[in-house]
């Protein structure tokens, strides 16, 4: 078997490491921590430290509060190793008897993981109250080699930390000396404790303490039957210890062997509990309990496989949530307010002016100065009469803010709907997002960011990029335009004055400016379109196969690009200030079931199952134990 131990030990170590790694990776899945899961505790406390070739047995005296665990323990120890008291929940920390030289061969710390080990000095030290888990140990000559005998705290008292300590000892134990009384053999807390022990295939010795002999002779088989039925425990031996307070105090309590159906024998066979324990077949029991623990660890419903499927399930849930959140981000943006053509045209003009050279430039610049002068007078009069108009970009900013606000509102509507679904994974964060403080903070942030944007610069960059592309993509058209521009320079005086005087001026100051620009009116078709666009601020209409049409296509693309950029900005802002890390975390969480650690755990499970648990002799054994 020793070779099996070694092989198994290696696999178990791999499993432990992989599971630990998986825990770190699946942090985002918000699962309960590994510590505290029965199978994980078994892995850490039982399998890891005890899969060594030098086998030893851990024998623990366990049971409810104030039923004489310490008395039984002292009988095993042969001396008053553990203090006894009439008051309940006396023993607060486990006491361990260690055979001589055992601590040289073994690392007690790793055997009793999670306990602070102290040398035993006094029987009363285990009664003291300490928040940390302590374990007092002493070397005892009387303890058979390779046997660790423990006294444990209670499993049903009002000091709950005692339960935890008892559970931890139970996990690493091989043999449990179950102390029961007629009052407690059917208590819920006791039953729950031993049910777990049975699942882990511990060897159990039942001691009925404080039995009233001979009155209880007819009852104890009933007690035993009930206990075994309720917990699934199959005791190796059953003892009866009479209710004899003096004998208990003097450490000379007789233990009668209880054999079902042989009641008459009962009182004759008085045995030493310790001898029976020493006579237990170590290796068999060791193998059995290790296998039982491994079974528990690998149990498809309560062991590692269950943990894996939990991760998968959670991953799938996160996938669903992630999809939902991601679709949240995508919303239609067709109704985004259009940037005023006026501004774009202005920028295009500026760009065009930079393209002029030589005489054309001089002529145009000169007349532009004149038209600016005329326009100045006109604006002055108009401002007086009708009040100063809002600059188009300010108007646009206002409109865009309205749009942004609408979007935010609809995002919140969807978040509210989402909150109604009460998805436990995201609920706290969604509630936080929906809170008043986060709402007002988001609006403030968005507003501040929005006010900071220099739209003129954004449009300028876009126009420059688009116009450069236009020049590069269709050099002929560009050249053609330039020719028109040259020609227009010749008739500039006429256009500048005429258009202003014939009332184009009052139609809007841009008309004049646009009109003063050869490129837009020389190609008559285009001029009409642009004037319409400028005055009505509608999209340019009428596609044409001419150069002007091509130019117009660029113009339209400009609009689309601009809107795309603005919606992108909003999405970025929402991601930054509203969703923050959620989408990324969701994404990261969904891929945990595909991670290497996950696969490693799964592989190790398969190996452990096939190599260690599947040998034929053992299956029988485990079946027998589980039956």
């Amino acid at each position: 078997m020793s070779s099996t131990y070694a092989a198994c030990a290696e696999h178990v170590q791999h499993l432990h490491a992989a599971v630990r790694q998986l825990e770190v990776q699946s942090r985002l899945l918000q699962l309960a921590p590994l510590a505290g899961r029965e199978w994980f505790e078994l892995l850490e406390r039982k399998l890891l430290p005890q899969l060594t070739d030098d086998a030893f047995l851990v024998v623990a005296v366990v049971g409810g509060t104030n039923i004489g665990k310490s008395v039984i323990f002292n009988h095993l120890a042969g001396c008053r190793a553990s203090a006894t008291s009439p008051f309940a929940s006396g023993t607060k920390h486990p006491v361990c008897l260690v055979p001589p030289d055992f601590d040289q061969r073994h690392d007690l710390d790793s055997i009793f993981r999670g306990f602070e080990l102290h040398q035993w000095s006094d029987a009363n030290t285990a009664l003291e109250d300490h928040p940390e888990h302590r374990l007092f140990w002493r070397t005892s000559e009387a303890t058979p080699s390779n046997l660790l005998i423990l006294d444990t705290p209670d499993i049903d008292g009002d000091v709950r930390v005692n339960w935890e300590r008892a559970d931890n000892i139970r996990r690493c134990a091989d043999v449990l000396v179950a102390v029961l009384t007629q009052q407690k053999y059917n208590d819920a807390a006791v039953k729950q404790f031993f049910r777990k022990a049975a699942e882990e295939d511990k060897a159990v010795l039942v001691v009925f303490n404080q039995v009233l002999l001979p009155d209880d002779e007819e009852y104890w088989p009933i007690w035993l039957r009930t206990f075994c039925q309720e917990t699934g425990v199959c005791p190796e031996f059953v003892y009866l210890a009479p209710a004899d307070r003096r004998a208990a105090e003097e450490n000379r309590l007789p233990f009668y062997v209880g054999q079902v159906g042989q009641v008459e024998n009962l009182l004759q066979e008085k045995r030493k509990l310790k001898d029976d324990i020493s006579s237990l077949r170590f290796h068999e029991i060791k193998l059995r309990t290790l296998r039982g623990s491994l079974h528990s660890v690998l149990h498809p419903e309560t062991g590692v496989p269950a943990y894996l499927s939990e991760i998968e399930r959670r991953g799938a849930e996160f996938q669903k949530v992630s999809d939902l959140v991601l679709t949240q981000k995508i919303s239609k943006d067709d109704d985004w307010p259009p940037v005023p053509n006026l501004v774009i045209v202005q920028e295009v003009r500026l760009w065009w002016q930079q393209q002029r050279e030589g005489l054309t430039k001089t002529v145009h610049d000169g007349f532009n100065a004149i038209s600016r002068g005329l326009l100045g007078v006109y604006s002055l009069v108009r401002d007086r009469v009708a009040g100063k108009p809002t600059p188009p970009l300010d108007l646009f900013r206002e409109r865009e803010w309205q749009m942004i606000y609408n979007k935010v509102e609809s995002v919140y509507e969807r978040l509210c709907e989402f909150a109604e679904l009460r998805n436990p994974l995201l609920q706290p964060r969604i509630e936080e997002m929906l809170s008043g403080i986060s709402r007002s903070r988001l609006l403030e942030l968005l507003k501040a960011e929005h006010n900071r944007i220099d739209f003129a610069q954004v449009i300028r960059d876009l126009v420059t990029a688009e116009m450069e592309a236009f020049r590069k993509d269709s050099p002929q058209v560009f050249q053609y335009m330039k020719w028109i521009d040259h020609g227009a320079a010749a008739v500039r005086p006429v256009t500048t004055f005429c258009l202003f005087i014939t009332g184009a001026g009052p139609a809007g100051e841009m008309v004049n400016q646009v009109a003063a620009n050869a490129m837009f009116y020389a190609a008559a078709e285009l001029a009409g379109g642009t004037v319409a666009a400028t005055v009505g601020e509608s999209a340019i209409s009428g596609a044409a196969s001419t150069g002007a049409g091509l130019f117009e296509a660029h113009f339209r693309r400009l609009h689309i690009r601009f809107t795309a950029e603005r919606t992108h900005w909003l999405h970025r802002m929402l991601a930054e200030h509203l969703y923050r890390a959620i989408p990324d975390e969701l994404q990261a969480a969904t891929v945990v079931p595909q991670s290497a650690a996950f696969q490693k755990v799964r592989d190790t499970i398969v190996v452990l199952e096939s190599e260690v648990l599947a040998s034929p002799g053992d299956t029988q054994n485990s079946e027998a134990n589980h039956g």
Binding site: G64, P86, A88, Q183, D187, K191, E409, G436, S440, L443
Partner: protein, 597 residues
């Protein structure tokens, strides 16, 4: 009627009053979830209180309570002196609760679910005034499944008046039993008994220490039920703790004590429930605080926007100011030459304004026109006003843009959600409704502003139209009139005598008239300039004054109202808890019994 009896009656009246108030509290509805939760609790409580009150005079129900195997049934048998509840060495022994009563006791008045009991009728002196129930244990069932002992026990507990908490050396620190007792003890008197005195050590000292945190423990009895029963069966009187326990249950819980016990239980119940409610509500109140702060902030924001806008408009409306001031001054001065001139000027202005400019384009101008003239103007234009959707116009005129309103609502919805007032947030308003609310807020705001403007006008008019100033202007005006009169009189009486040619020609009068108009205009101009001086400062002061003032009702009066209601209801709950505490303090507790603290 003795004093003590009177005191009793008074106490009863107080309890009745307390219950009436609780009932009243439960009767109202609240949109707030935590309060609704409290009401649900109190409603259940009232049901239980009612059954308690009905059987106030019925025999007390004394029930055993404790882990399996601690000897509950043995104790019951010993107490009644007869084998009446089955005892045993198998766990659990008792599954169906056993009710033991005197043959003469009428059980119908107790409100007990009798079909769930095993009923035993025993003629025992201890059963004269009480009914004993032997309950199943709370610690063999691992969960509350139907038919389990725990389920049966829990169903029983609300009917019990006194719990005999029975335990042993092995079980007195059992966690399950302790947890269960904590729930069961509410509204019950407690008696503590350690059994198995024949076998076990006396652990009462440690037990008492353990209980002291949560319960008042006057005495713990240490009994040996088996020998006590044997004693009685052979006709011996039991002794020691058991005898005292039996005596307590037999003679000390007399008819008069029943009421005391039940009343104490009832008050305990009410008190515990009210405390629980108060705790629940207080834990949730900070969210309401935050909501109120947010509501305040939002209405402040609106207020600031309106103040700013008002300020701008007031500064811009110079001519309206002027007319108001002039009207005020002329009203002060009454009839006099200069004031008539001013009146003519102002009347002319009004005529012009009503013809064209004075269409009171905004509500601020409306306020500036003043209440009196405004109403006059309003009545004449009523129909016209109604025709246009005035509210909308008003709302936009004071800078309460739709955006601002919607954003306010958006943020406040979040706070409502935090405060668990979602019921209210479903009443979210449309933009149209928001505008109406805004208009209401605004008219309220303008009402204030209008009064202040009136005040300013009055004050300015008073300051700048003192008698000295008036005298000055009158003299200046009169000097011209005097001069012209002097010329006319002189020419008519004196010069015409000298030579008829010297009489003043007609164009003199025309010239005099023209110069008079110019002179009068000059004076009026000077005067109005004087009136207008420093108006900017006054407007600033007005705006500052308005900014300090708070709007009485914000955009969301329903939500503000809800907050106030919640506060009032919390106060009410607080008051109820305080009164329950007071009455509970005053009540004379039966000292032999323990109870939950």
């Amino acid at each position: 009627m003795g004093d003590s009896e009177l005191a009793q009656i008074e106490l009863f009246a107080e309890i009745d009053e307390l219950l009436r108030r609780v009932r009243e509290f439960v009767g109202t509805e609240s949109a707030w979830e935590p309060l609704g939760h409290c009401r649900a609790i109190l409603r259940r409580l009232l049901g239980r209180v009612e059954t308690l009150r009905i059987r106030l005079e019925a025999p007390l129900v004394v029930a055993t309570f404790g882990g399996t195997g601690v000897g509950k049934s043995s104790l019951v048998n010993a107490l009644v002196g007869r084998e009446s509840s089955r005892t045993g060495r198998q766990r659990p022994t008792t599954t169906l609760p056993v009710l033991i009563a005197h043959p003469d006791t009428n059980l119908d008045g107790l409100g007990l679910p009798l079909n769930e009991f095993e009923v035993a009728r025993i003629d025992s002196p201890i059963l004269r005034d009480i009914v004993v129930v032997d309950c199943p244990d709370p610690d063999t069932s691992e969960g509350e499944t139907s038919g389990s002992n725990l389920t049966r026990l829990r169903k029983m507990l609300p009917h019990c008046d006194v719990l005999l908490f029975v335990s042993t050396q092995q079980k007195y620190r059992s966690a399950r039993v302790g947890d269960e007792l904590q729930q069961a003890a509410e509204g019950c008197r407690l008696l503590f008994v350690q059994t198995h005195a024949d076998q076990d050590s006396d652990i009462r000292e440690d037990w008492r220490r353990q209980l002291a945190d949560k319960y008042a423990v006057p005495e713990v009895f240490f009994v040996d039920s088996l020998s006590a029963l044997q004693d009685q069966q052979v006709g011996r009187r039991p002794s020691g703790d058991f005898a005292r326990l039996q005596d307590l249950l037999t003679s000390r819980i007399a008819a008069s004590q029943r009421i005391q016990v039940r009343r104490a239980n009832l008050l305990d119940l009410i008190h515990a429930a009210l405390l629980h409610c108060r705790e629940h509500v207080t834990g949730n109140l900070p969210a309401i605080d935050r909501l109120e702060v947010a509501l305040g902030e939002q209405s402040q924001k609106l207020h600031d926007a309106m103040t700013q806008r008002l300020r701008e408009e007031l500064v811009a409306s110079q001519s309206l100011w002027e007319r108001r001031l002039l009207t005020a001054v002329t009203e002060r001065w009454g009839a006099s030459p200069f004031s008539s001139i001013l009146r003519v000027y102002s009347g002319l202005g009004n005529l012009l304004a009503s013809a064209s400019l004075w269409r009171a384009r905004s509500s601020v101008q409306m306020a500036l026109i003043g209440v009196v003239q405004g109403t006059r103007w309003l009545s004449s234009k009523q129909q016209e006003r109604e025709a246009e959707s005035n509210l909308q116009r008003v709302a936009s005129s004071l800078g309460l843009e739709d955006d601002l309103l919607r954003e306010s609502q958006f943020v406040l919805n979040g706070f409502l959600r935090d405060a668990k007032l979602t019921q209210l947030s479903s009443g979210t308003k449309t933009v149209q409704e928001l505008r109406q609310e805004a208009a209401r807020v605004e008219s309220q705001f303008l009402g204030d502003a209008g009064q202040r403007i009136d005040g300013i006008v009055e004050e300015v008019a008073k300051q700048r139209s003192g008698p000295l100033i008036r005298a000055w202007y009158e003299v200046l005006l009169f000097s011209f009139v005097g001069f012209v009169l002097y010329r006319i009189v002189k020419s008519f009486f004196w010069d015409s005598l000298e030579s008829p040619d010297k009489i003043l020609p007609t164009h003199f009068y025309v010239n005099a008239g023209v110069i008079f108009v110019i002179w009068a205009s000059l004076l009026v101009m000077l005067f109005t300039r004087r009136l207008r001086r420093g108006l900017q400062k006054q407007v600033d002061q007005l705006a500052a004054g308005l900014a300090r003032q708070r709007i009485q009702q914000g955009l969301f009066p329903a939500w503000e109202e809800a907050c106030r209601d919640i506060r009032a209801e919390c106060q009410m709950l607080e008051g109820l808890a305080a009164s329950a505490h007071l009455v509970r303090e005053r009540i004379a507790l039966p000292t032999q019994f323990g109870a939950a603290r």
